[in-house]
Symmetry: C3
Subunit: 133 residues, 3 copies
Amino acid sequence: MLSYFALQVIYARRKYKISPPETTGHPEFERIFRAQANCSEYFPIFLSLLWVAGIFFHQGAAAACGVLYLHARFRYFQGYVQAAQGRLGPLYASARLLWLLMGLAVAGLLAHFLLPLSCLRALPWSLQLLRAR
Amino acid sequence: MLSYFALQVIYARRKYKISPPETTGHPEFERIFRAQANCSEYFPIFLSLLWVAGIFFHQGAAAACGVLYLHARFRYFQGYVQAAQGRLGPLYASARLLWLLMGLAVAGLLAHFLLPLSCLRALPWSLQLLRAR
Amino acid sequence: MLSYFALQVIYARRKYKISPPETTGHPEFERIFRAQANCSEYFPIFLSLLWVAGIFFHQGAAAACGVLYLHARFRYFQGYVQAAQGRLGPLYASARLLWLLMGLAVAGLLAHFLLPLSCLRALPWSLQLLRAR
């Protein structure tokens, strides 16, 4: 998805004849550029929350939030390309999903570090798989 | 903390009436915008060093550096909001902490790959926990 | 390498007297600034693909791609500093390496989740090491 966004910026640079390193010159290019920059900026936040929630809480729940987040980000990009106003709804949706992932991650970490070690249900799936081997 | 920074950018956009996708228009907004962008840019560097140092060197030492780094970044943001000059001290402090984390990560990786496997003290905490189960 | 790029931006700021938070003012500074921003933007994408390919496919293959990617990014930065045109060749090379890492990551994940668990060759190196202990 990030590759697709980066390609849209390249196409918009060609369409509006805005050569790097310039990042301004036409409102539609600027919206596409900012949409791509914003998605890239949030990617490490998203990925670290996804991984921690997936390892310490539950892989399936984290993956479901991740798919919804990617969908919200896709709608955010498409909305922002059309008008600055169009980014708001999907942006709020993606922010809510990040907060949800953070809640899952914190819950998983608390369970991992505070519950007694014998409480195997709190073990992440990957460790259980490892033990089964 | 990154959410808090992102909210400050949103509040500054409202205060100075700078609508996306614009990123210029008022010195204070530009300082807040650049402070947030710089913190976001360094977040993946910080997190990857934190994780590698935590897994291969020592969780406690890495976590302590991480808390100090977050504190330095918070002071960086607050200093930059007031004046461009105010960002320098905390910026240098945060850079020193990243170098320290990189040193811990490299030391941990060297110990992990070069020391004999029987040298259990070099094992990261997570593996020790795993074996204890 | 990212530290080196960040230092080049700082030196260029001094050379062309462009104080933060400004990010424009001289073509060479703007090229250096965009080169550093682009490398930082792709760093989390690179690192997450490198880690997933290294854990689920093969550490050596992922590390080799990683070294080639870093080399391409270094040539990208140097080419971009001299002229905007100079960035293109290394940029395409780095993009191909990211696609290769994504291919390795997807192959590793498919093998991990679809092959029968007894097929030990598909196990990542780190788990094999763990079991050997």
